[in-house]
């Protein structure tokens, strides 16, 4: 969570500088700058995910060196999951919390002609992003562990795609549907990477031991 926050900080710093250096009245320029800010932020987030991976690797080595039986009490997969969840939660919290605070108060949604589904779609989008971050964490760390660069690039590309799809908002079908599809893909992929299989799933669902 902290790492995500730092990445957000840096990316908003960049954006802020860009905005201050540009003409505030120029609407398309501002929007363009915002888009640039978003893309840059995505890249920074992934970079920080990588940095976090490096840090955790060092930590695991330390733990292994100190433990009595040569294996660390927490595996890299667990760390990947936790890292993903942390990223996701922080991202979700930052996206939603002001909305939630405003939602408690009085008001009408979309009174100025905006979409009336604003809160709903925001909620769904946030949820899908949180899930995605979790899965991306697992995929990313797995890719780093096994030196499969294509996995890492896949994660980055997916992230960019999801963020990019939100540029279609308020045409929600353009953003929500692809995001959920991507999430399903990522979910299956992460599940398979974590050692799951169709058999496991069936056994779990049918409560066989």
């Amino acid at each position: 969570a902290f790492f995500w926050l730092v990445s957000l900080l840096l990316s908003s710093l960049i954006w802020f500088i860009a905005v201050k250096a540009s003409d505030p009245q120029d609407e398309p320029l501002q929007k363009g700058l915002l888009i640039f800010g978003v893309m840059f932020s995505v890249l920074l987030q992934e970079a920080f995910r990588f940095l976090y991976y490096k840090l955790l690797r060092k930590a695991i080595e330390g733990l292994v060196a100190l433990s009595e039986d040569g294996c660390s009490p927490i595996s890299i997969q667990q760390m990947a999951y936790v890292a993903g969840v942390g990223f996701g939660l922080m991202s979700g919290a930052f996206s939603m919390i002001n909305l939630l605070a405003d939602a408690i108060g009085p008001g009408t949604v979309g009174i100025h002609g905006d979409s009336q589904l604003y809160f709903l779609t925001s909620a769904f989008m946030t949820m899908v992003l949180i899930f995605l971050h979790t899965f991306w964490g697992i995929l990313f760390f797995h890719g780093c562990e096994h030196r499969r660069w294509w996995e890492i690039t896949a994660v980055v590309v997916m992230h960019l795609a999801v963020s990019g799809s939100t540029f279609c908002n308020p045409l929600y079908v353009g953003s929500l549907v692809p995001s959920y599809l991507l999430m399903a893909t990522a979910a299956v992929w992460a599940y398979l990477l974590s050692g799951g299989s169709a058999q496991n799933l069936r056994r779990f669902l049918l409560c066989k031991s």
Binding site: A1, F2, L9, I97, N98, A101, T121, V162, S163
Partner: protein, 471 residues
């Protein structure tokens, strides 16, 4: 020492983790005389290490060396537990403060300032305002320094009665007066009708139970809850009565002062810690949050003979009913068997041969002088954080939630920053094993994140939310 770790996962053998307060007591509001204001430090006392070991015998040296290696493992292994043990109360305190700030408008209304911050911030020019806030902060810090030095001097010259009286009066004030005000304001906010008799009864009960829990004996959870509540109350007072820039400046300067006071050889806090170590006494229970054992007010007045007798007698009785893995052995004020459960003692006997577990032999093994059993051993189990830390963390987060334009984003960012700072501080504690100031890292992170989030992230997130872009 695998057996040890298996049976007592929470016990770091020979590791004392102590957080000592800054013992700076200063007054709170215009009408009152006392205010408690503590910074904290954490100290790690390695019992087996030769610095405190005053009886260097060969077999003890062997035990000592073994212990040192395994200390490292255990340190890092169970460091995570300790971090969590501190996260929860810090989070709770902050949650209480933020919840109050958001709902009860009393604490964000400007109703004047304390006499410690005489210069107003409602000035015409920015320069004047800056100057005033610098002066305010300077006055406040000098008050704090004077109070700390006074406390250290009193402690050095063994004027325990004075210190105790001071602490009791300030906790009385907090528990009764401030909570009365708090309750009144909460009732006003929610428009609850209440009569004086009920309020008197509630405050009376709350206050008396609080006094007993904090200064004497009580269930650990209740004591922790009370300490959190009074820290929150104190933080709320600070948030209300300190003007903007002064508050931020004070936070910054206080973390610098904490760093200096704890780490410099002539710093007052360090002297306090060292004096306490020399005398093998506990520090004031009312100023420290302890995550596991409860404290007894066992200062120098306690008769060492009585301690020994009690510890021997109660040793066999207390731990029979407790599960070995029970982390919080709190109910028993008779935790005078030195905090060792039966299992551990058996293990120890197996390991180094049956020793008659007199206080003397226990002292030899642990390297502690014998009359310190009851007062030192409970500290081995947990992590301690001074209440001043709680207060200042909560002040930072509360101020962030009260005055930030980014509102919840800023609050959340400061919260995460403070927790990460706390993590880092605990990590440093595990590495350095001595008293450490808990304020600097967390407050620095918190301040950086506050100003950064408020000014940089906030507009960005606003724009994103407006267009419903997601990053």
């Amino acid at each position: 020492m695998t057996e040890l770790s298996a049976h007592l996962p929470q016990f770091q053998h020979g590791q004392l983790t102590e957080n000592f307060p800054d013992n700076h007591l200063s007054n709170t509001n215009d009408n009152s005389e006392r205010r408690r204001h503590d910074n904290s430090e954490r100290r790690r006392n390695d019992n087996p290490e030769s610095e405190t070991n005053e009886q260097p015998q060969n077999n003890i040296q062997q035990v000592v060396e073994q212990d040192e290696e395994e200390d490292e493992e255990l340190t890092l292994k169970y460091g995570a537990k300790h971090v969590i043990m501190l996260f929860v109360p810090v989070t709770l305190c902050m949650v209480v403060v933020v919840a109050t700030i958001k709902s009860v408008s009393f604490y964000t209304r400007k109703d004047g300032q304390l006499i410690y911050t005489p210069f107003t911030e409602e000035t015409e020019t920015v320069g004047q305002r800056a100057l005033n806030s610098i002066l305010n902060a300077a006055i406040m810090i000098s008050v704090i320094i004077v109070m700390t030095i006074l406390l250290v001097v009193l402690y050095k010259y063994r004027c325990y009665k004075v210190i105790h009286g001071w602490l009791i009066i300030s906790s009385l004030l907090l528990l009764f007066f401030f909570s009365f005000i708090y309750l009144g304001e909460v009732f006003k906010t929610y428009n609850v009708a209440m009569d004086y008799i009920t309020v008197a009864l509630m405050i009376w009960n709350f206050g008396v139970v609080g006094m007993i829990c904090i200064h004497w004996k009580g269930p650990l959870r209740l004591q922790q809850a009370y300490l959190i509540m009074i820290s929150a109350l104190m933080a709320l007072v600070f948030i209300k009565y300190l003007p903007e820039w002064t508050a931020w400046l004070i936070l910054a300067v206080i973390s610098v002062y904490d760093l200096v006071a704890v780490l410099c050889p002539k710093g007052p806090l360090r002297m306090l810690v060292e004096t306490a170590q020399e005398r093998n006494e506990t520090l004031f229970p009312a100023l420290i949050y302890s995550s596991t054992m409860i404290w007894l007010v066992n200062m120098a007045e306690e008769d060492p003979e009585a301690q020994k007798g009690r510890s021997k007698a109660s040793k066999n009785s207390t731990y029979d009913k407790q599960a070995p893995a029970n982390q919080t052995q709190n109910e028993d004020a008779e935790a005078d068997d030195g905090g060792f459960s039966q299992e551990w003692q058996q293990q120890r006997d197996n390991r180094i041969g049956p020793i008659e577990s007199t206080p003397e032999s226990r002292a030899a093994v642990q390297g502690l002088p014998s009359n310190s059993q009851t007062s030192e051993d409970p500290e081995e189990r947990g992590v301690k954080l001074g209440l001043g830390d709680f207060i200042f963390y909560s002040v930072l987060v509360g101020k962030a939630s009260a005055t930030a334009s980014g509102d919840w984003n800023t609050t959340l960012a400061c919260f995460v920053a403070i927790l990460i700072g706390l993590c880092l501080t605990l990590l440093l504690l595990a590495i350095f094993k001595k008293a450490l100031p808990a304020l600097p890292i967390s407050i620095t992170f918190g301040l950086v994140f506050y100003f950064a989030t408020d000014n940089l992230v906030q507009p960005f997130m606003d724009q994103l939310a407006f267009h419903q872009f997601y990053i």
